[in-house]
């Protein structure tokens, strides 16, 4: 009898604090598997954001730093330009990257910083209890859009892959999902490619991952139903695919 799935060395084998059915746990494992497979654990620096994944600096078995809300790409710039031999991963949520951190992500991409950004898009603010995110869909309910997001009041969701692909400095931008196994496999491949780009000095690479937030989508009683929201609604507004891939 042979164990087919080994736990990655790059993630500590501890229970993580994420809600049942949350995508963070899946993506953390995928990043750790890629770190193991590319043998970069000993030179990776993981930047944890402010958001549900604020404690991610504790979960990864590598040097890590937890920084101010939205500033991951700037922190990554400081680290990578001081220690170019490190592999720097900025892990961010939708408030962190697309709201307060919009200037930092755009400029890190514009400067073609040789870093890897893992962007978790669950169309809502998790840690603070379910407020609207820049990526919240029109009509989606949140604690600050109780009747559903109204474009007259709150404008339109921001499509990060599309936005960053317009910048000359961006080298690779792909959007994937983790709501089904095919998506999980695509996500792992995209993360691997994005990190390989950093290893090979190709430049700024971002993977945007559509993820579940059962708690703040009102589905804590039935977390696996969250996959429907991605499958039926989110992929229409945020189509998965490769948006930019240049050397």
């Amino acid at each position: 009898m042979q164990l087919l799935n080994k736990k990655p060395k790059s993630l500590f084998d501890v229970q993580m604090h994420y809600c049942p059915g949350c995508g963070h746990g899946i993506v953390h494992r995928l990043v750790a598997e890629v770190m193991d497979e590319l043998n970069i654990r000993e030179r990776t620096i993981f930047i944890a954001p402010v958001g549900c994944s604020v404690f991610a600096d504790m979960y990864f078995n590598c040097d890590a730093i937890q920084g101010a809300h939205g500033r991951g790409p700037a922190i990554a710039t400081g680290i990578k330009r001081s220690k170019p031999d490190t592999i720097v991963i900025s892990y961010q949520g939708d408030g962190d990257l697309a709201s307060i951190g919009m200037a930092e992500i755009v400029h890190a991409a514009a400067r073609n910083e040789n870093i890897t950004v893992v962007f978790i898009n669950n169309a809502i603010y998790g840690m603070t209890g379910g407020q609207m995110a820049p990526t919240t869909l029109i009509g989606q309910k949140s604690t600050t859009t109780v009747s559903g997001r109204d474009p007259k009041v709150n404008g339109y969701p921001i499509k990060v892959c599309e936005l960053l692909s317009a910048l000359e400095g961006t080298r690779y931008a792909e959007r994937t999902t983790v709501h089904n196994v095919a998506g999980v496999i695509k996500t792992k491949n995209a993360i691997k490619k994005a990190i390989k780009n950093q290893i090979n000095n190709v430049g700024f690479s971002i993977v945007e991952i559509l993820s579940m937030c059962p708690t703040n989508w009102g589905l804590s009683n039935n977390p696996s139903q969250a996959i429907k929201y991605i499958d039926e609604q989110m992929v229409k507004i945020f189509p998965p695919g490769v948006y930019k891939d240049i050397k």
Binding site: L3, L4, N5, M16, V181, S224
Partner: protein, 70 residues
């Protein structure tokens, strides 16, 4: 030649999200009716039909499933 497999759920880690039940192609995972010490009703292998496809372990957010090939 399809594989024969078996899964083991770590009931200390499983949070009862049941993503594994949704993705299992052989529908061989179910909800347990005894709750774990964390208060969740963990996922449970029905006991047969597993083909070790690893879908459940790939989607599990908590590394709570070990998949074995027999």
């Amino acid at each position: 030649m399809p594989k024969t497999g078996r899964i083991e759920v770590d009931t200390d880690r499983c949070k009862g999200c049941y993503l594994c039940i949704d993705v299992c192609p052989k529908k061989c995972i179910e909800k347990s009716d005894t709750f774990s010490k964390s208060g969740y009703y963990p996922a449970k292998y029905k006991g047969s039909d597993c083909i070790a496809c690893l879908s459940c372990s790939k989607i599990c957010p908590d590394m709570a499933i070990n998949v074995y090939e027999l």
